[in-house]
């Protein structure tokens, strides 16, 4: 059965070696969004996370702080991003998930946000500072009615009971944060981190688990792929974008760094 939701379609077909890239919308320029989306789509990335910037990104390291600050200075807003995606819709086949903090969403209003996201063909939303219990109490029905996945994070510290609850409430996939850290910290993955990902795999969760935070190299990518359904790359891509200035060059450079020859 064919769904309207592109992420649902993707995850029905493919449940391993998934590759996702996060970018901060409005960086380096306000109108970079379309070029970045099409270059990532052409490169064969499986799905995208479009970050809408926030002035106080609590869970983010220096790279996403900087790109967010620049994006705000460039005039990027949540509404503007949704309009850009809606306008470019005809050329977009890749699933897009929106990622950002709750405050900008609250100012638009959750219902208004869901309606616009649905209209722009967005598949899901990640809001790190929206806790699962608040989501369940206030917004779950809304997200269901607009066919939007709500994707929650889990960390090595998240208890089994809490993971099961998150698996029940969330949909699309579960975002496994590789370690308890802010974004963009780049080390190799320890045995403890691998064990944590394996533990998640063995839990027989409803949703696939995709790993993010700190993936920047051949090794970290392989670890994520071997121990979960996929990998999400944020800061490493944005660093390439800072150096290269265009989405097309940035993804080529990132693929080199990850040991991926061309389209995956």
């Amino acid at each position: 059965m064919k769904h309207m939701n592109a992420l649902t379609n993707l995850l029905e077909k493919k449940r391993q070696n998934l590759l996702s890239v996060y970018f901060t919308a409005g960086y380096p320029h306000k109108d970079s969004t379309t070029e970045i989306i099409s270059s990532l789509q052409d490169a064969g990335v499986d799905f995208l996370e479009a970050g809408f910037p926030f002035s106080d990104p609590l869970a983010d390291g220096p790279v996403i702080q900087q790109t967010s600050q620049q994006a705000i200075t460039n005039g990027m807003t949540l509404d503007c991003l949704l309009l850009q995606i809606e306008k470019a819709r005809a050329g977009i086949t890749i699933p897009i998930v929106l990622m950002g903090y709750l405050n900008p969403v609250m100012q638009t209003g959750m219902e208004n946000f869901c309606r616009k996201a649905n209209k722009a063909g967005i598949s899901g939303v990640i809001i790190p500072d929206l806790p699962p219990d608040q989501y369940e109490a206030r917004y779950l029905d809304l997200f269901k009615s607009y066919d939007l996945h709500m994707i929650f994070l889990v960390t090595p510290e998240t208890s089994e009971q809490r993971i099961r609850n998150i698996d029940r409430l969330g949909s699309g996939f579960i975002y496994a944060v590789s370690s308890s850290s802010t974004t963009g910290r780049q080390d190799s993955f320890s045995d403890r981190q691998k064990q944590y990902l394996r533990r998640l795999q063995k839990m027989n969760l409803r949703n696939p688990v995709i790993t993010g935070f700190g993936i920047h190299s051949r090794n970290t990518l392989r670890t994520a792929w071997e121990n979960s359904s996929g990998a999400i790359i944020g800061s490493a891509y944005l660093k390439a974008l800072m150096r290269e200035g265009s989405g097309q060059k940035a993804i080529t450079q990132l693929f080199g760094q990850l040991g991926l020859a061309g389209p995956v």
Binding site: P53, F54, S55, D56, P57, L58, A59, D60, G61, Q65, Q69, I72, T77, L78, D79, Y101, L102, N103, P104, V105, M106, Q107, T108, P128, D129, L130, P131, Q134, F152, L153, V154, T155, E157, T158, S159, R162, V177, S180, S181, T182, R185
Partner: protein, 404 residues
């Protein structure tokens, strides 16, 4: 109306714990344990003795004769400026250190604006032999140098924060990020009634000693256990929360919070979050904050580094909305005038933050027989540069009037 926090961490519609999953286990651990620990006999005893022997409590409730005459009511000053380290901040730090100890946390981190909370934290960490890291915005480091030097002498690592607006808001972000990256053995010792639940409640409880003493002292001095007015300045809201705490359910007591208007509430250069802000989420807490139409948090402005915060504690957002307390905005120059007035009438140089509370005396209706308690949250040593600049510059009318 109920003014205490509910089980889920809310004061009415404000508060809660809007935090990323990376903080969940730390916050959950605190939330599950703080009441049991803080209500245990051995915690209470250890805290009481520390407040008495180290902080220097009880602090006096002094009748201010000349200020009373000037004001036209009976004004008492609650002298938190006489606490060790020079402000009420030590009340909270003493309690949270004992909490951290009981939760086996060996590293202490904190944010600071004016540096008073940083100094208080560094002080107690020196006393306890605990390593301590203080996050402070670059702008605040420049304007509160004496406190930076004190923290360094006390052995704290002071980390300059250059993100965002380089003030308290950004220092708080950076402290939270550090906690995310170092979760297991670190206690984040937050300095005001802000942040995710249970912090606003922890800090309010620890500062509530201020109103407890006011009650007892009024019985001794005036044979009544309540004033007509309590007035305190509000940054994040901890000294005000502590000053209001035991009077929240006593409608005879009118409560007034003085927000920093900066250059004026209509100028855009202000820190009056309640009077100019709207509901939103800052540092894991749903409260009133200053933001643009797109939900980006605005930089605050106040001459006083300790009030320079675009949000406010959720308790105050609730007291404001429910009408239980009144909040008034005091401009930079009104605060400077009030500081001069208090200095010349009472021989007390207040912190710039506390000068906002003194200035608020002029903004509320007072009857001659009424008792107004003003909380002097801190002393002014750290603000001498700002005071000298004001005196040397345009001059301060209040001093001129008094000198004539």
């Amino acid at each position: 109306m109920n003014y205490s926090v509910n089980k889920k961490g809310f004061y009415g519609e404000f508060g809660g714990a809007w935090i990323p999953e990376m903080l969940h286990s730390n916050i959950e651990q605190l939330a599950c344990n703080y009441i049991d620990i803080m209500e245990s006999e051995d915690f209470k005893q250890e805290l009481d003795s520390m407040l008495k022997e180290y902080v220097g409590r009880p602090t006096p409730l002094s009748y201010a004769a000349r200020l009373s005459e000037h004001t036209g009511a009976r004004v008492f000053l609650k002298r938190e400026d006489l606490c060790h380290t020079g402000s009420h901040k030590l009340n909270n730090v003493a309690g949270q250190i004992l909490l951290a100890k009981r939760m086996d946390k060996r590293h202490i981190i904190a944010e600071t604006g004016a540096g008073q909370h940083g100094v208080a934290t560094a002080t107690v960490c020196a006393l306890m032999g605990l390593p301590c890291t203080i996050f402070m915005g670059r702008k605040d480091i420049a304007r509160q140098q004496p406190n930076v030097m004190r923290m360094k002498m006390l052995g704290a690592r002071v980390i300059p924060v250059s993100s965002g607006t380089c003030t308290l808001k950004d220092a708080t972000n950076e402290a939270i990020r550090h906690w995310i990256n170092n979760p297991s053995d670190t206690h984040y010792l937050i300095g005001s009634t802000i942040g995710p639940h249970p912090y606003p409640d922890i800090v309010a409880r620890l500062q509530s000693v201020i109103s407890l003493e006011i009650k007892e002292q009024l019985v001794q001095k005036e044979e009544r256990d309540f004033p007509d007015h309590v007035i305190a300045c509000v940054g994040g809201g901890s000294n005000a929360a502590g000053s209001f705490y035991h009077f929240l359910d006593d409608r005879r007591v009118k409560l007034t919070g003085a927000e920093a208007a900066g250059e004026g509430t209509g100028t855009g250069r202000t820190a009056a979050s309640l009077l100019t802000g709207s509901p939103g989420i800052i540092h894991g807490c749903r409260t009133m904050l200053m933001q643009d139409d797109h939900g980006q948090i605005k930089g605050a402005h106040s001459i006083s580094a300790g009030l320079d915060y675009p949000g406010i504690g959720p308790l105050h957002a609730h007291l404001h909305k429910s009408g239980r307390a009144t909040y008034t905005a005091v401009t930079d120059s009104e605060a400077l005038q009030a500081a001069m007035l208090l200095t010349r009438l009472e021989g007390i140089i207040p912190a710039l933050e506390s000068a906002h509370a003194v200035a608020a005396l002029k903004k509320i209706k007072l009857l001659p027989h009424e008792i107004a308690v003003v909380t002097l949250s801190g002393r002014g040593d750290k603000d001498m540069d700002a005071y000298m600049e004001a005196i040397d510059g345009a001059g301060v009318e209040e001093t001129k009037k008094i000198d004539q």
